[in-house]
Symmetry: C2
């Protein structure tokens, strides 16, 4: 499994991906799922992938070799695309081609999963960062203000904290913290999602990204997991126990503290 | 969608199910998914179901008419089964039959989901309650001490709180509170799971259950949702912001509070 999340707040873009790859639970390895393109000091583009590793690699290969777009005889590259929207179109087109490549090989054999979903984010010429979710069919949607995040992969365990905590005005460092809690909740419930975490941060007005790999021994991440677990326990204990009737009791104590 | 959860702690059994049924998001109604059998003052058996409503109703009909078990010419009933284990076997056999009934009708038409998963819990003659999860194929597993809960349906959103908070020694009222937080997290993230919640509580030594329907205007449930949301916000704010480098900064403030 994989879990990737992208947060787009007023102060910037945060993209995170775990690095665990598994073909069955007895074949686990570490693989980078957050790729960076076009770091020329003027643009920064990142792609995070969930799904088939072979389809992803076929797609990345197409991006490196250039993608033939409808109506243009010359191949196009992420390194020279004029806008993030064009970047998303190029990646979508590469997705369609990569899927065809792989389908030609596997020929609809049962149980072969070749689907991929991507997050594509970044900024060109220091403009406000943008974030897209590319579906397995090559079409895509852009992240907006109302729900300022996208997830791909094993998304449900880490979604409640995003829904409850995040909005477009959330400060950047707090957004990073929320994304890490979301990662932590996912890793606790699904062994297929694991450390290290790759993180990329882009800010408006800056044409280089901060890329960080959060390893097993990262003190902040370790403390975050422990503090969050302890805080949840306290939060639960501070809510009164319910007084619904139990068998053999007419009614329970009202608002008894546990 | 549906979310049902069963908790088996030392002080008793808690079963909960939401009541929202939908055939598409534009066809939503309220349907009881937690059924009670054999309330004769000596036994209490409850079944919570997730999946196809037509398969579930075919299965319940079989339970009412009696289930032919291998090696017995007489039909068997939940109302007279000697043990909870036999109850689980009878329900499993009814599952196999119900699935065949429905398959004969729908004939593998694409897109017709006929699968059902069940929680079966209860107590006979005041003995310690037991809890089973019945798979769609009719086989089943029993809940044990190490992970004292089962879920069926839309389970991922509400699983982290169970994994973090619940163990076999958790007091009964606190277990109810944890199950309600799990329900609340699920309802917040999936509109297909909705109020009212049906709850059943069984205690060792008591042969009647407490059955409660928690409606939209239930003051405890309303406060629980609000308190939990506020406590999570506080918990997050009390964790220092991360000091990972940001673009344009060599390093961030160390342990800055948000």
């Amino acid at each position: 499994m994989t879990y990737c999340v992208g947060l787009l707040v007023k102060e910037g873009l945060v993209m995170m991906a775990d690095t665990r790859t598994n073909a069955g639970i007895d074949n686990i390895s570490t693989y980078r799922k957050l790729r960076v393109f076009g770091e020329d000091g003027k643009r920064i583009i990142s792609i995070a992938s969930a799904g088939s590793l072979s389809t992803t690699q076929a797609l990345v290969n197409r991006l490196h070799e250039g993608v033939k777009m409808p109506g243009n005889d010359e191949p196009e590259f992420l390194e020279t695309a004029p806008t993030m929207f064009r970047v998303a179109q190029i990646v979508g087109e590469a997705m369609v081609g990569a899927k065809k490549d792989i389908e030609a090989v596997v020929q609809q054999q049962e149980g072969v999963e070749i689907g991929v979903t991507l997050l594509v984010g970044g900024s060109i010429d220091g403009r406000a960062p943008r974030l897209f979710l590319i579906y397995g069919e090559g079409n895509f949607i852009e992240c907006g203000l109302d729900t300022p995040y996208f997830q791909v992969g094993e998304l449900k365990y880490g979604k409640p904290v995003l829904d409850r905590m995040l909005d477009y005005r959330t400060p950047l460092r707090k957004a990073i913290k929320i994304a890490l809690v979301s990662m932590n909740s996912t890793m606790r419930s699904n062994l297929g999602v694991g450390l290290p975490i790759d993180m990329l941060v882009v800010r408006p007005g800056h044409s280089t990204a901060a890329v960080t790999r959060i390893e097993e021994n990262d003190p902040y991440y370790h403390d975050l997991g422990a503090s969050w677990a302890a805080a949840l326990k306290d939060a639960l204990n501070n809510i009164p126990d319910p007084a619904y009737p139990l068998p053999g009791e007419d009614s329970g104590p009202v608002a008894a503290k546990s």
